[in-house]
């Protein structure tokens, strides 16, 4: 038995390591697809497609507790006293973020006085090679007062730059189109303060449990991606929030 014991220990460790890795991978995938983290009542998840209703109404894990929103050092647009605060943690190179962008823009236009939108960088460089550089480009534009213009341009032109080997010339082109001081933009994009700002955003998200993009909070509660990507559902959620505030 004593001769076999080390082999048994090694085999147990191997099985535990493989099982642990598989569990981590599974929980990671669950978080990335953002299933089962809904805090919304079932009425909000009504939809035309039965399949999505089933997905949205069957929570697979415990909901995260609501976290008070924080506007410190955040890029925000919309009225400061708006009753609904939408916070997005996004990656400019992430296709789902690009997909959600026009939906959020439409919501902003429709609820001009009722909704305030905040964007924080949450680049995923292991998945998107230009994610950090794009975030820095937006922040560098922000130093010249044009964060949101660059934010919109990066998302709207995502297909133009996301697959290029070197994105910098395209970002410089966007800066030119926005009328930015190019020398300052070039200096700022690689500067320590801009880098720190991006990192702070990321840490802010990490502290709130963000692990994938886009992660959207509404008045501090995380909204499932199934809702955010659907204009009708998102609108219904906002209406419900507004009704609750009255």
């Amino acid at each position: 038995m004593r001769r076999k014991l080390p082999i048994i220990i090694i085999a147990v460790a191997l099985v535990a390591a493989l099982a642990g890795g598989a569990l981590m991978m599974r929980s990671s995938e669950t978080s990335t697809t953002q299933t089962g983290i809904s805090q919304l009542p079932p009425t909000v998840t009504t939809t035309n497609t039965p399949a999505t209703t089933a997905t949205a109404t069957q929570p697979q894990q415990q909901p995260r507790p609501a976290v008070p929103p924080s506007l410190q050092n955040a890029h925000a647009r919309g009225r400061a006293d708006a009753p609904v605060l939408i916070e997005e943690y996004g990656d400019f190179q992430c296709p789902p973020c690009g997909f959600v962008h026009p939906i959020l823009k439409r919501i902003e236009d429709e609820y001009e006085t009722e909704v305030r939108v905040v964007f924080r960088n949450f680049p995923l460089p292991t998945l998107h090679q230009h994610a950090i550089e794009a975030a820095r480009a937006a922040e560098a534009a922000g130093l010249q007062g044009k964060f949101w213009q660059m934010h919109d341009m990066l998302f709207e032109k995502q297909n133009e730059w996301k697959d290029t080997a070197i994105a910098r010339p395209l970002f410089l082109g966007y800066a030119r189109q926005l009328g930015l001081d190019l020398d300052k933009f070039t200096r700022d994009i690689d500067s320590a303060p801009v880098n720190t700002r991006v990192m702070n955003d990321e840490q802010h998200g990490t502290a709130r449990g963000v692990g994938s993009t886009p992660t959207v909070f509404m008045n501090g509660r995380e909204i499932p991606f199934e809702v955010v990507r659907d204009y009708g559902k998102l609108r219904a959620t906002i209406e419900q929030e507004l009704a609750a505030k009255k």
Binding site: R2, R3, L5, P6, I9, I10, A13, L14, A17, G20, G21, M24, M25, S28, E29, S31, T32, F122, P123, L124, P125, T126, L127, Q129, I132, M199, E202, Q203, T206, G211, S212
Partner: protein
């Protein structure tokens, strides 16, 4: 009859103590290798799932883990680390149960892992100018494994010389 037996026990007692010490050292190495294994598995999973690794102590996880040094071909470096730590764990376990060949292989592997860790810490400090806490933990573990291998060598050398003297 009982007297000679007592003499044999007294004579063998000093020889058993260093063996126990070596066995304990290898057991400690096995536990440390498990810590390194968990660390490497975490980094591998995070890399494969494309998630941004959460850095709570240092602030350079993204820079380090997204750098070209974090992968070998299409595979994350952490995956190779996981294989190395599991091998180190297996060898240390076998050595703890008395396999001298496993002990020798463990020492070679620990030296290689220590050299790799030195190189990776150098890259973080002087090339990337950013530190990733999980990489630093891995470096600390592999350094500890190398120290254990060295202490083991020193213990064996001391025992050998004391046996020659006696």
């Amino acid at each position: 009859m009982s007297e000679p037996k007592a003499r044999v026990d007294e004579a063998s007692a000093p020889q058993q103590q260093p063996e126990q010490r070596i066995s304990r050292l290898y057991a400690l190495a096995a536990v440390l290798a498990l810590v390194g294994l968990a660390d490497a598995i975490y980094l591998t999973v995070e890399h494969l799932s494309g998630r941004s690794v959460r850095c709570s102590v240092t602030s350079g996880c993204s820079e380090v883990l997204a750098s070209p040094y974090a992968t070998i071909g299409d595979y994350p470096l952490a995956l190779f680390g996981a294989v190395a730590y599991f091998t180190a764990f297996s060898l240390a376990t076998l050595a703890a149960f008395g396999s001298q060949r496993a002990g020798t292989l463990f020492a070679v592997l620990a030296a290689l892992m220590f050299a790799t860790s030195l190189w990776l810490v150098y890259l973080q400090a002087f090339v990337l100018h950013a530190f990733c806490q999980y990489c630093l933990l891995s470096a600390a573990v592999s350094t500890s494994l190398a120290v254990i291998a060295l202490v083991h060598r020193a213990t064996r050398a001391t025992d050998a010389s004391s046996q020659i003297k006696s």
